[in-house]
């Protein structure tokens, strides 16, 4: 017993010192190596008188455990210290810039088109498209605007031939014609796209964007038109309340026709939609003219409905406070970066149009 105790005391005091990893390892060998002091004692267990053997073995095991755990503790301590010393040397200036990244952006018109599609999707509209180059029939005649109609003067048209038979579409309404000729009623579509007029100044660009809407079914009336646009405007501008005014107007392809104004005010130099007592014209609409329906072989006695046309660029300007229409198409890096949207910001119904 006294041997055991001696060993214990001796090594406990040794291990108290500041030791290197090598020194600890040699202590470990001294104790538990092939001929180590503890190992040797274990070999003697058989020769201990039976009466003492049990106690001896128990004491020896206890001391073995005690010393072993102390040694591994010590080793761990030293290793941790060494690693820490190494890491200390590796320290970098973490305020240095990371690897550069470039951010792409989505054009505000594209973002607005996605917002519009998302809103109309919720109430059952699907998206149709048509070509930018149109024949004069689809752009005018089929839309109840024959050649001798003064309303043709209201569209400054780009022509591609001297006979004025092919042109750049002046509105998205020819998509109505194409859709109705192609399919059978009911129709419930929107058609966003590029449109063209030979007009260019601060508020007019020779190319701009429109979204056409068309809903034809058996009992669609002006109340549905009002409801649809009211819903759209509220959703689009993300406001609870909207002030809206339907004014009688005239378009050859709708009757009755209306222009729609929304109420706004200027607060701190920014336009606020839905309040105030100023009116801003934002779209034209009406009930599809029976002549148009006849032109596309839809029976106006059975089917009726509404159509509307909204300026997309105009909507984007209002919503995002953009002043100059021309800048949309000027491709200035600074402008695109400022007004563009992150590609991950996809407008959706469940997540909302914007963050």
């Amino acid at each position: 017993m006294s041997d055991i105790k001696n060993i214990r005391d001796q090594f406990l005091s040794k291990l108290k010192n500041e030791l290197s990893l090598d020194e600890i390892n040699s202590i470990k060998t001294e104790l538990f190596g092939k001929n180590g002091q503890i190992s040797s004692l274990f070999k003697t267990v058989g020769s201990i008188p039976e009466s003492d053997r049990k106690t001896f073995a128990a004491d020896l095991n206890k001391i073995k455990d005690e010393l072993q755990s102390l040694i591994s503790e010590k080793i761990k301590e030293i290793e941790t210290k060494e690693v820490n010393q190494k890491l200390e040397k590796e320290k970098v200036d973490i305020t240095l810039p990371g690897r550069p990244f470039v951010r792409g952006k989505i054009h505000p018109v594209s973002q607005t088109i996605d917002e519009i599609s998302s809103i109309f999707s919720e109430i059952g509209f699907s998206v149709e498209e048509g070509p930018d180059v149109e024949n004069e029939y689809n752009n005018f005649t089929a839309l109840n605007t024959p050649d001798n109609h003064p309303a043709r003067d209201m569209h400054d048209t780009f022509y591609l031939d001297e006979n004025k038979e092919v042109l750049l579409r002046t509105h998205t309404s020819p998509v109505q014609i194409r859709t109705m000729l192609k399919d059978k009623p009911p129709f419930k579509i929107i058609a966003p796209g590029r449109t063209y007029r030979s007009d260019s100044d601060q508020t007019h660009a020779p190319m701009f964007h429109q979204v056409e809407g068309l809903h034809i079914d058996k009992n669609i009336n002006m109340g549905h038109l009002k409801g649809c646009l009211n819903y759209f405007i509220k959703e689009f501008f993300e406001v609870e309340k909207i002030k809206m005014r339907f004014r009688p107007s005239h378009f050859p392809f709708t009757e009755p026709s209306a222009e729609v104004d929304i109420g706004y005010e200027i607060k701190d130099g920014k336009i606020v939609i839905g309040e105030g007592d100023q009116w801003l014209e934002i779209l034209g609409c009406g009930m599809v003219h029976p002549n148009v329906l006849k032109n596309v072989k839809v029976d106006p006695a059975k089917y009726q409905g509404y159509a509307f046309g909204i300026g997309i660029d105009r909507l984007a300007m209002l919503k995002y406070g953009i002043n100059d229409l021309r800048a949309f198409f000027d491709c200035d890096y600074r402008w695109l970066n400022h007004f563009g949207f992150d590609p991950l910001d996809v407008p959706t119904n469940y997540r909302g149009l914007s963050r």
């Binding site: 780009f158 030979s198 819903y231 005239h250 200035d332």
Partner: protein, 802 residues
């Protein structure tokens, strides 16, 4: 259409305020464009008398006048008018006044060293007439006691400018507007008793309408007023015209203008003595000419409706008169014309000759065919009243007789279209107020359409009239139902949006540029396409439809580089055109990337963007969109605007159906020619219409999940091959050795030069070998190693590098 509330009150009994009027006009579809106070500031203009004139010390033609403006102080005014003389009573404008004609604001100014306090005004400067030769001369008997008083009588009525839609010719007359307002409950339409001509004198100028094909004149009414004395219009008439911004000219012209604006009845006045042997209304012959009242000479084509006499063309019916037969101040006998011209004929002629006049604007929209006599009556009596003379009988020639249109109207169609009800009795009242005559036949109305409403031809037009007058605010909102029966986007539309955002996510800014472009730029990129010219472009720089998006994109890229941005990526997704017919267009995603990667980075070496950067963007985008990169096939046949050695063409499959994309460096010659200052420019085009849509939806694309947990081994090979051998082919050969076992091939080195024979190169690849079924033994691996080497050597002529 410009009106004033005062003029409206000639036709409307009403006590409401102007504010209410403006609201009502807009509510019934007569949109108020602007409201202007014309008389604002006009009170500053004073009646003044010149007391003395002296020659200007430094200018021969100028005078310095002492002017009595009714104040204590005599004003010194410098004036250049020859008629400025002592004792003349004229109009004085003080500093601060705004000259009506040119809207300039007067200031105290030194004119050749003499200070002038204000200005003496000509009639032209005051918008009173065209007279600009001298300052206004006011009669001393009338104005002697008015020195210092305001020259203009103050009018409280603002000038209201209405935007009248093309379907409403009746509202191009004040009375038509009044009628609409009255129908909508704003005041009561005054019944004006028409004074009818009861003359025994016959109209002695013979009038004939030739009955020929395409005759544009249906009827021609005329009245002769003899022995008139044309003069200045009386004040009430002048004021009326001035109040809507028009300039009085002479009584006869002013009267025709007044009648036109008041009841939308265009008239024309001829000097009857200048007409040779009567009037013939006929179609023109090609080559005929005449000088119109706008002092331009017009050469006519066949079949234009002309008013002519024995000597030739007098004027274009319903569009513009000629100088030869125009009335002048000494005209003694006036022939008034009140006719009806076919809108189509008017529009065609005016368009061909490019003439726009007030009369044309009205006839083109449709004039009341029954207003011929009313116009003549009104004008003839006014001429007689103001200019004296004797009125003849009215003469009306016609080739067809007007009949009011009758349409059937089912009152239930109102609710069907508008979604709300109004009482039958209210419908009848509105229609009656608008001038419709209504007979009820059981439940159906038989409506006689008023002659001034050529726009009303069917039931829906009547619905519009009713709902317009009742008010759009009465339409009830029907909340939309949130239900979707058809998917919002088609597969191709989804792909469009996916590609758009996928490219943007790789650091490209999305641009939207015109669909047309500068032919100069387009030329570089049009490839095999024809140039597609726009007949009437907005400018020559936007003269052709773009054959490629590059033309615009490169121009704007260049502009941005000039702004100082060196490293930049932009893209556009949109149409390009290959023909002038509808549908001859493609959707292309086109991007450009310029400059360097890692410019001025403390971390990495900088390098120019290169073809493999852009290749990565294209391939990654297509893979993200659902295409299998392992099936891609790339070769180097690209359009000539790419660098011939550093550009590629990508197919989705080896089968080479249609080109999915081009990518590469832009040809250095083009960069040089457009003078773009960049170290590197690479670009790509992805052709949306050529991408075969992935057949499966996302849910079908997710097949059974199976991965191998058996050990994988990597083996490296270096082959020496002919320079012409493409890495793509080598990889293809290797992967075909055993598709089940070879799961990945990576190229880690390509080397030419020392130790490699000329015309050959070394390609080093790392091949990953893994089985789905078992752990491969060394022998299996050796076997496949051997196979790879043998196959590559056999198929490509390569040699394994030892």
């Amino acid at each position: 259409m410009k009106i004033t509330f005062d003029w409206l009150k000639d036709h409307l009994s009403v006590s409401a305020k102007e504010e209410k009027l403006l609201e009502k006009l807009t509510d019934i579809g007569l949109e108020v464009e602007s409201v202007e106070n014309l008389s604002e500031g006009l009170d500053l203009f004073k009646v003044a008398k010149i007391l003395k004139t002296e020659k200007h010390p430094n200018a021969d033609r100028l005078k310095v006048c002492d002017v009595d403006v009714g104040e204590k102080e005599i004003k010194k005014v410098v004036c250049g008018a020859p008629n400025a003389r002592e004792g003349l009573i004229t109009v004085y404008a003080p500093p601060g006044a705004v000259i009506p004609k040119n809207k300039t604001k007067l200031v105290i100014a030194k004119i050749r060293d003499v200070t002038s306090y204000g200005m003496l005004c000509s009639e032209s400067e005051l918008n009173l007439s065209e007279e600009s030769d001298g300052i206004t001369e006011l009669s001393s008997s009338k104005y002697n006691n008015s020195i210092g008083k305001s020259f203009f009588t103050q009018s409280s009525s603002n000038l209201i400018d209405l935007s009248i839609t093309p379907n409403r010719p009746d509202c191009l007359g004040v009375r038509g507007i009044a009628r609409d307002l009255a129908a909508a409950g704003f005041g009561k339409l005054k019944q004006i008793k028409e004074q009818k001509i009861k003359s025994k004198k016959s109209q002695t100028v013979k009038v004939k309408i030739t009955d020929e094909k395409n005759q544009g004149c249906f009827s021609f009414g005329s009245c002769l007023v003899t022995n008139v004395k044309n003069t200045e219009s009386p004040k009430w008439l002048k004021d009326k015209l001035i109040s809507i911004g028009q300039k009085p000219i002479s009584a006869i012209v002013d009267i025709t203008n007044y009648v036109m604006i008041d009841i939308n009845r265009p008239l024309h006045a001829y000097d009857a003595d200048k007409i040779q042997k009567g009037i013939i209304v006929r179609n023109s012959k090609s080559g005929e000419e005449f000088t119109a009242l706008d002092n331009k000479n017009y050469k006519l084509k066949d079949d234009m409706c002309v008013i002519s006499d024995d000597k030739g063309v007098l004027g274009l019916g319903g569009i513009i008169g000629g100088t030869r037969s125009g009335t002048e101040i000494d005209t003694q006998n006036v022939l008034i014309e009140s006719a009806y011209f076919d809108p189509r004929s008017i529009r065609k002629t005016a368009k061909e000759l490019n003439i726009d006049t007030d009369a044309k604007f009205r006839f083109e929209r449709g004039i009341d065919q029954l207003s011929i006599e009313e116009g003549l009556n009104k004008a003839a009596f006014l001429i007689k009243e103001i200019c004296g003379g004797e009125i003849s009988k009215i003469n009306i020639q016609k080739i067809s007789t007007f009949k009011n249109q009758i349409i059937k109207f089912d009152p239930s169609s109102f609710e069907k279209v508008t979604g709300f009800k109004i009482l039958t009795k209210d419908m009848l009242k509105i229609l009656d107020n608008l001038g419709f005559k209504c007979k009820k036949d059981k439940k159906i109305f038989k409506l006689t359409i008023p002659s001034w409403r050529p726009d009303i031809t069917q039931e829906i037009d009547v619905v519009e009239e009713l709902v317009r007058i009742v008010g759009y605010d009465k339409i009830k909102i029907e909340e939309p139902i949130k239900e979707r029966k058809k998917s919002t986007l088609t597969q191709i539309q989804k792909l469009f949006h996916f590609l758009q955002r996928s490219i943007a996510s790789k650091g490209y800014l999305e641009a939207i540029t015109w669909s047309f472009t500068d032919a100069k730029y387009n030329d570089h990129f049009k490839g095999q396409n024809d140039e597609l010219k726009i007949v009437n472009p907005i400018s020559s720089e936007l003269g052709v439809l773009r054959n490629s998006i590059f033309s615009n994109l490169i121009m704007y890229m260049s502009k941005n580089i000039d702004r100082g941005f060196k490293d930049l990526s932009i893209f556009e997704i949109g149409p390009t055109f290959f023909g002038k017919q509808p549908g001859e267009q493609n959707i292309v995603v086109c991007g450009l990337s310029a400059g360097k990667k890692s410019r001025l980075s403390w971390l990495e070496k900088e390098r120019n963007v290169d073809v493999f950067d852009i290749k990565k963007d294209v391939v990654q985008t297509l893979v993200e969109a659902g295409y299998d990169a392992e099936k891609f096939f790339i070769d180097d046949e690209t359009p000539d605007y790419y660098h011939p050695g550093k550009s590629g063409r990508l197919f989705l499959n080896r089968g080479k159906e249609s080109v999915a994309a081009y990518f590469g460096e832009i040809h250095p010659n083009i960069i040089k020619q457009i003078d773009m200052k960049t170290v590197s420019l690479v670009g790509f085009e992805i052709f949306l219409d050529n991408l075969k849509l992935p057949k499966k939806s996302l849910k079908d694309q997710k097949t059974k999940y199976s991965v191998s947990d058996y050990q994988k081994s990597e083996r490296d090979f270096a082959f020496i091959v002919d320079k012409k051998i493409k890495v793509q082919d080598l990889i293809n050969v290797v992967s075909n050795v055993d598709k089940n076992l070879i799961s990945n091939i990576k190229v880690f080195d390509v080397y030419e030069g020392d130790n490699i024979p000329e015309n050959q190169k070394s390609i080093a690849i790392s091949v990953t070998i893994q089985s789905q079924e078992k752990t491969l033994k060394e022998a299996d691996l050796d076997q496949i190693n051997k196979s790879i080497i043998e196959t590559v050597e056999n198929k490509t002529g390569a040699k394994i590098r030892s």
